[in-house]
Symmetry: C2
Subunit: 231 residues, 2 copies
């Protein structure tokens, strides 16, 4: 049995348990039992329980990021905030761990949020820079309005995204029926808020730089996940 294969199974089980039980109730014993390994084996892979569960979350985020990259490579128009976030929205709601992260919040993730804030502060800062550069690239190619400070556009984007994710839990009883429709409203809102008339050629010109930005972010995420391992 391969070491990495074993690690994958532990991660998988940990993810299921995290969603089903929530951070506080997940135990390393139960993870080991379900993954059919000894408890000590878990600690051969990750430094601590937090490191393991942080990896679960980071992995889920990375999967969404990879799908995002694939979409951008296949269709340059996916670099537009509306397209990017609309698709992200669907991915996030479909990924149970991330859905929990954005809707149930405290109950499921417990202090994992605080933990990750400290542990990943650097990564979050990089994410901020990446998004800002992304928007700047779009502006340079005439795909976004330039009559506003890019920092303000970034804040508007983040705040609006926060709103649509939070609304998922907060307004669930007065929201339009399907996630697809809500995602559509989200995308349309961002388009009107930020984007000029889309141009395929401009998007194709901007895409390489933007893709490179997210590839760097992906690499940095992978590095961060490695940093959570024992060796």
């Amino acid at each position: 049995m391969e070491r990495s294969e074993r690690g994958e199974r532990i991660l998988e089980v940990a993810g299921e348990l995290l969603v089903a039980w929530g951070y506080g109730r997940v135990t390393i014993d139960e993870i080991a039992r379900r993954a059919k390994v000894g408890k000590g084996t878990v600690y051969l892979h990750w430094k601590t329980k937090d490191a393991l569960l942080l990896t679960v979350v980071l992995k889920a985020k990375t999967r969404a990021l990879q799908r995002h990259l694939a979409r951008m490579r296949a269709d340059p128009l996916e670099v537009l905030p509306s397209r990017m976030m609309g698709a992200y929205y669907g991915d996030f709601l479909a990924e149970p761990v991330l859905r929990a992260l954005y809707t149930d919040d405290v109950d499921v993730l417990g202090r994992l949020n605080d933990s990750s804030k400290k542990e990943f502060a650097e990564l979050v800062a990089l994410g901020d820079r990446v998004l800002c550069r992304h928007l700047e690239a779009l502006r340079e190619h005439g795909l976004m309005y330039e009559d506003t400070d890019v920092r303000h556009q970034q804040y508007a984007l983040l705040a609006t995204a926060t709103g649509f994710f939070t609304a998922e839990a907060l307004l669930f009883d007065r929201a339009p029926d399907t996630p697809e429709i809500r995602g559509g409203i989200f995308a349309e809102s961002l388009r009107r808020m930020l984007e000029t008339t889309p141009s395929y050629d401009a998007a194709a010109a901007a895409a390489p730089e933007i893709i490179a930005l997210y590839e760097e972010f992906e690499a940095r995420s992978a590095e961060e996940m490695r940093r959570q391992l024992r060796n």
Copy 2:
């Protein structure tokens, strides 16, 4: 000493205490002591502790609503979502009770949120209808885009507002400096998202109906506050 004056002082003290201590730590004894009345006197005014604190919140909301009405009466352009919410944003952040309601949430308000959800379900539903009619009126006067379902516009508005309020606490470390700037970004976002080129005349034509809607809401709120009293 007037009965209503006494009630006002109790409300005021209760508000201060609610913000300073949070729902769980506020006691009727302490409210009575600070308001210099007997404990039983508090119960001559309100049915329960929850009724009292619910009234504190409702009163704060009503004050913001009244300022909103005054602004609309003074300047018809204030009926535009961007203008309305931009000013609301400032008011809400300046009103400690409401600021707590939208930023600290659980810690300060405790189970008051759930309590109000049940108690004020009807009022919330009316608020929903009022907002929807408000948007419909704007559309009829050509002040908002009509190429989208009004329900979807309402959801976008609510989700975005939720986002900017939540972001106030969630993104505090990476947000633009002043509340005024953040309020400006919020307003500008809504304008681009929902509004056509503003016309004073169209706004003036739409204003009376819209003002009437919120006056009805204000009346209904006052009625609800009365319903929390003993007699």
